[in-house]
C-alpha cells in the first residue's frame, strides 16, 4: 500500500504552491517519492496523479520520458558513470569496466546486497574533471582505480 507521510504532505503542499498550474509539480513529486522509496511503483503513480488531478496513464507517459526515474527497486547507492567524450578521452571506458568488475554487476545491474546500482551516463557537466561518476547526489571527479576503490569501499 502506497501512502504519503505527514511530512510528505507538508512537502507536497510547499511544492505545489510554487506553480500556478498543479501539473508543473509532477516531476518534483516523482522525485520526492523516488528519493524516499528508491523507485516509483504503479501505486505511487496513481497517488501522485491523484494529488495533481492527472491520470495514472498521463503520469506514466511523462515519467517514461525521463531517464532518472526508476520503476523497480534500485540499490542504496546509484552510480552514474559518465562515458561521453571528455571522460572517454581520459580513460572512462576502462574505469567503468573496472567498476563493473569490482561490483560484480553489468551496467544497469544492482548488486545482490542491494547496495549499488551501476549506470552508464551521457555527460554530467563535470567535463574538466573527467573521468567522473556521480554516486547519489555527490560528484566524484578525476577518478583513478584507487580513487574508485576508496569511494566505494567507504560507503556503508
Amino acid at each position: 500500500m502506497f501512502t504519503f507521510t505527514p511530512e510528505d504532505e507538508k512537502q507536497i503542499e510547499k511544492i505545489v504552491g510554487k506553480y500556478p498550474v498543479k501539473r508543473s509539480a509532477l516531476l518534483p513529486l516523482l522525485t520526492l517519492v523516488q528519493r524516499r522509496d528508491g523507485y516509483i511503483s504503479p501505486e505511487a503513480m496513481k497517488a501522485i496523479g491523484g494529488k495533481l488531478e492527472l491520470s495514472p496513464a498521463y503520469v506514466q507517459s511523462v515519467m517514461s520520458f525521463y531517464t532518472m526515474y526508476h520503476t523497480h527497486p534500485t540499490g542504496k547507492y546509484i552510480i552514474l558513470f559518465c562515458h561521453n567524450i571528455s571522460c572517454q578521452l581520459n580513460g572512462a571506458d576502462d574505469l567503468l569496466a573496472y567498476t563493473s568488475k569490482k561490483l560484480g554487476i553489468d551496467v544497469g545491474g544492482t548488486t545482490k546486497d542491494k547496495k549499488f546500482t551501476l549506470h552508464r551516463e551521457e555527460c554530467l557537466a563535470a567535463c574538466s574533471g573527467g573521468p567522473m561518476m556521480r554516486v547519489n547526489d555527490v560528484f566524484h571527479e578525476n577518478l583513478t582505480t584507487a580513487k574508485i576503490d576508496k569511494i566505494l569501499d567507504s560507503l556503508a
Binding site: S61, N84, L89, N90, E122, A125, C127, S128
Partner: protein, 419 residues
C-alpha cells in the same frame, strides 16, 4: 579580466553576507532608479549575447516580449548537458547569489513577477545550495513583495528536471517545467510571445543572467569595450580532454584558441601533438589542429567552420582515432533524441550504427558516403536543433579527417578483418 569568476574560489561565497562583502547586491539602487525599458536598452547596448549556445543578443530577446501581456515569466536554463560543458555548474555551486541578483535585475527589466531556475535532475546538490541562497535573499528583502521599496514583487523558485538533454532546448524546457514530456514546441510562437503557461517568457542561460549585475553596475559602455567588435565581454570556457590543466576559464572574447589551450590549459598532455579540437561543445563541428590560431569569439570560430556554442573546448591529441570519438558523440545524440520527429529519431540511430560498423573495421567507403547522405537529410530538416547538433560531429569528422575513416576501411579491404 574577471567578471563572472571574480572571487569564485573565495570560501563562503555561497552565503549572502560574504557575497555582499564583495560588493554583491549593490546594483539595485542604480537599476531601480531607472525604468524597466531603460534597463533593457542598457543590456542591448552592452552587446551581451546568450551564453547557452545560440549566442542570440540577450537584450534583444527581452525586447521581443509581447507588449502589455501579463503575467510574464523568467526561466533560467540550468539544464547544462552538452558534452564538454561544465561552466554553469561551477557558477551555480560557487556563486548562487550572482545568479539571483542577475535574475532580479532581469525580472525588473522584463516586468516579471515569477521566475524559475530549471536545473537538470542531476544537479540536486546545486539546487539545494540555491534553495538556501534564495531563502537568505527573501529574508533580506531582495525577493518577495516590494523589493527594496521599488514596488516590484518577485518570487523565485528552483525546479529540477529528471535526465533529458533535450530539455536544454528552451521550448522543451518549458514543456518539462509544465509537467509534460520534454518535447520541443513548434515555433513560432516563440517563448517571448507564448512561453510558460502560454504567457510571455524570457529563457536565458545561467552565465548570461550572471553577467547582468556587472553590466548594470559598471555600465553598458564598459562591457561593450571588452572583446571584439561583435563578440562583447567575457566568456567562460570549459576546457577538457587532452590538456594538462583542464578547467573552466574566463576569457576576454577574441583570445586565440592557441593561447587558451597552451597557456591557460597548460598545453597538450605529455606534450603530444594536437590533432583536433571541438571549440564549442559536442554539437559544434570539430576542427583540425591547423585552425588552432582561430580567435575564440563567435565570428572567428564561425569563419573557421564551426561555432562557439556553449563555450566548451574539447581537445584531442594525436593518439585519438577520430572515428571512435565520433561514434561516442553519435551515441549521445541517438540516446538523447526525443523521438518526436522522424529524421532525428531515425537518423541519429542510423548514423550510430554505421559508425559502429566502421569502428569495428567492417565498414566500406560506401558507408562513409551514406553517413554524409544522412547528414544531408537531417540538416535543417529536423523539428528542433538537436538534429543539426547530431550532424555537427559526424559531418565535420568526415570533412576534416576522412583519412581516419579510410584507414579503417582499408583494414577490411586488406583482409585484416573477416566479415
Amino acid at each position: 579580466m574577471k567578471i563572472l569568476f571574480k572571487n569564485i574560489d573565495m570560501p563562503g561565497l555561497t552565503s549572502l553576507s560574504v557575497y555582499e562583502g564583495q560588493g554583491g547586491y549593490q546594483s539595485f539602487k542604480k537599476a531601480f532608479a531607472q525604468k524597466p525599458e531603460e534597463i533593457v536598452e542598457i543590456v542591448k547596448a552592452s552587446g551581451l549575447r546568450g551564453r547557452g549556445g545560440a549566442g542570440f543578443p540577450a537584450g534583444l530577446k527581452w525586447s521581443f516580449l509581447a507588449k502589455d501581456v501579463f503575467p510574464r515569466y523568467l526561466v533560467c536554463n540550468a539544464d547544462e548537458s552538452e558534452p564538454g560543458t561544465c561552466k554553469d555548474r561551477e557558477l551555480l555551486e560557487k556563486n548562487p547569489h550572482l545568479l539571483i541578483e542577475g535574475m532580479i535585475l532581469t525580472s525588473y527589466a522584463c516586468q516579471v513577477g515569477t521566475a524559475y531556475i530549471y536545473y537538470r535532475g542531476e544537479f540536486q546538490h546545486a539546487a539545494d545550495l540555491m534553495d538556501k541562497a534564495i531563502e537568505e535573499a527573501y529574508a533580506k528583502g531582495y525577493l518577495g513583495k516590494n523589493i527594496m521599496g521599488s514596488g516590484m514583487d518577485l518570487d523565485l523558485y528552483t525546479h529540477l528536471g529528471a535526465g533529458a538533454y533535450i530539455c536544454g532546448e528552451e521550448s522543451a524546457l518549458l514543456n518539462s517545467l509544465e509537467g509534460r514530456r520534454g518535447e520541443p514546441r513548434l515555433k513560432p510562437p516563440f517563448p517571448a510571445v507564448e512561453g510558460l503557461y502560454a504567457k510571455p517568457t524570457v529563457v536565458n542561460n545561467v552565465e548570461t543572467l550572471s553577467a547582468v549585475p556587472w553590466i548594470i553596475s559598471e555600465g553598458a559602455e564598459k562591457y561593450a569595450a571588452i572583446g571584439t567588435e561583435k563578440s562583447k565581454g567575457t566568456k567562460l570556457v570549459s576546457v577538457s580532454g587532452h590538456v594538462k590543466k583542464p578547467g573552466n576559464y574566463e576569457i576576454v572574447l577574441g583570445m586565440s584558441t592557441r593561447e587558451l589551450i597552451y597557456d591557460l590549459a597548460g598545453g597538450i598532455r605529455d606534450d603530444n601533438k594536437l590533432k583536433a579540437f571541438i571549440p564549442g561543445g559536442s554539437s559544434t563541428p570539430m576542427l583540425p589542429a591547423d585552425k588552432v590560431d582561430v580567435g575564440y569569439d563567435y565570428e572567428s570560430i564561425q569563419a573557421a567552420g564551426s561555432m562557439l556554442g556553449s563555450g566548451a573546448l574539447i581537445v584531442m591529441d594525436h593518439t585519438v582515432n577520430v572515428v571512435e570519438a565520433t561514434l561516442r558523440l553519435s551515441y549521445f545524440y541517438m540516446h538523447e533524441s526525443c523521438g518526436k520527429c522522424t529524421p532525428c529519431r531515425e537518423g541519429t540511430r542510423w548514423m550510430w550504427q554505421i559508425l559502429g560498423k566502421l569502428q569495428a573495421g567492417i565498414g566500406t567507403n560506401g558507408h562513409v558516403d551514406k553517413l554524409l547522405d544522412i547528414c544531408d537529410n537531417m540538416s535543417f530538416k529536423c523539428f528542433c536543433p538537436l538534429g543539426d547538433a547530431a550532424v555537427g560531429p559526424v559531418a565535420s569528422s568526415i570533412k576534416n579527417f576522412r583519412s581516419d575513416y579510410e584507414e579503417l576501411v582499408k583494414k577490411l579491404q586488406g583482409g585484416a578483418v573477416s566479415v
